[in-house]
Symmetry: C2
Amino acid sequence: MTEEDLILQQVLNEEEELTEKQKKIIIAAIESFSEKGFAATSTSEIAKKAGVAEGTIFRHYKTKKELLISIVTPVMAKLLAPFIIKDLNKVLDRDFEKFEDFLRAMIENRKKFLKNNFAIFKILVQEIPFQPELREQFLEHIAKKTFGRFAKLVEHYQAKGQIIEMPSASAVRLAASAIIGYLLINSVFGSGKEWDDEAEIERTIEFIMHGISKKE
Amino acid sequence: MTEEDLILQQVLNEEEELTEKQKKIIIAAIESFSEKGFAATSTSEIAKKAGVAEGTIFRHYKTKKELLISIVTPVMAKLLAPFIIKDLNKVLDRDFEKFEDFLRAMIENRKKFLKNNFAIFKILVQEIPFQPELREQFLEHIAKKTFGRFAKLVEHYQAKGQIIEMPSASAVRLAASAIIGYLLINSVFGSGKEWDDEAEIERTIEFIMHGISKKE
DNA sequence: TTAAAAAATGAGTGATTACTCACTTTACAG
DNA sequence: CTGTAAAGTGAGTAATCACTCATTTTTTAA
């Protein structure tokens, strides 16, 4: 439970048996795709960066696109896995009495994930609009499975009287917008000293719960 | 005041005098860049789609990148212009008594803009991570000018007692996250019949004002 | 009507692209 | 050791890339 978040490591170790050269190819490809974009990265460049002959790439991956997909797929499958697939059901009835506490844990969890997998995440976001395979995977893994789970979670807290009545899809959208907005801005400005992270997290949670209007 | 939002038309008509062929090049380039991405689009493809010789492109634009920038720059400059540069100051003290009304107008305004300029907007978002010139322009036009104006607007409504006390930057971030989240999801699912647009707009505004917690 | 300027052309440039394949090296079971 | 399969190689492929330039067509103005 220490560093299950490092998807790169996870893929390099667990999955199938990868040769040393193959690992180097993956690492080099992630770096280049993230920096320059998929289409603007050449296979010769990846080979050079990986210290490998260009032919070696095509021994393991039939095409350049297949290399991309082999990198991005595990992120898809695990993007929200720690909470969703493993823990969400427990969370639902046991762990968090208050929705606010769930939000806090959620933000912390996804923040770590994003930090640990920023390069791969960036590739994913960049290429989804152009790669139909990726879009399908995304809809399958994220949009359907994950979103459905969150909807149920919202309904749970609605039943408890902590969340107002509205379609659960809308509630998920609104909360997710705020959290994703926080995560993205934190990933850009998080290192600056004007950014008070603790405070911003609390403001985000407070905002999701109570908005920004003055109570009277 | 009818269709000032169509940036493409605006560029093609107003700006400098463009030849017919040049207009066709711009239209073809926007289409291809939006569909396949900048790096994956070839100049020969643009020329063919525009019904123009490839050399004609390079008569007007020194490089392919210059073509990209000439397309995206006006969007930058005008992305939030209608509200910001032209109307925001008036709005500030006169038009909207309540912050909620401002939000409503804001959402409607930006929704139209996005709908009318979706292809160019997509290109902008896609290429900002890879084109330093675009990033600079973005910081100059959007991040600084626009964000500063919004911050002032928030402070105005804080002074009126309609928004709780918090750093104005944080309030802008939170409200903008909710609005942008709405706009993006609307641009994807907005055509489906499960999407009740009026209701989602109101929920978004209500969320920004009061969050999703049950009042008691 | 004409001459100069601007716009447009498309064949041609060398560089680079993703990918192939005959070959060599390495790993390992019997 | 030996044989076999997998891993790795890098020169070579045709296609495509962004871009050039000598030439032709169109526009403009006197």
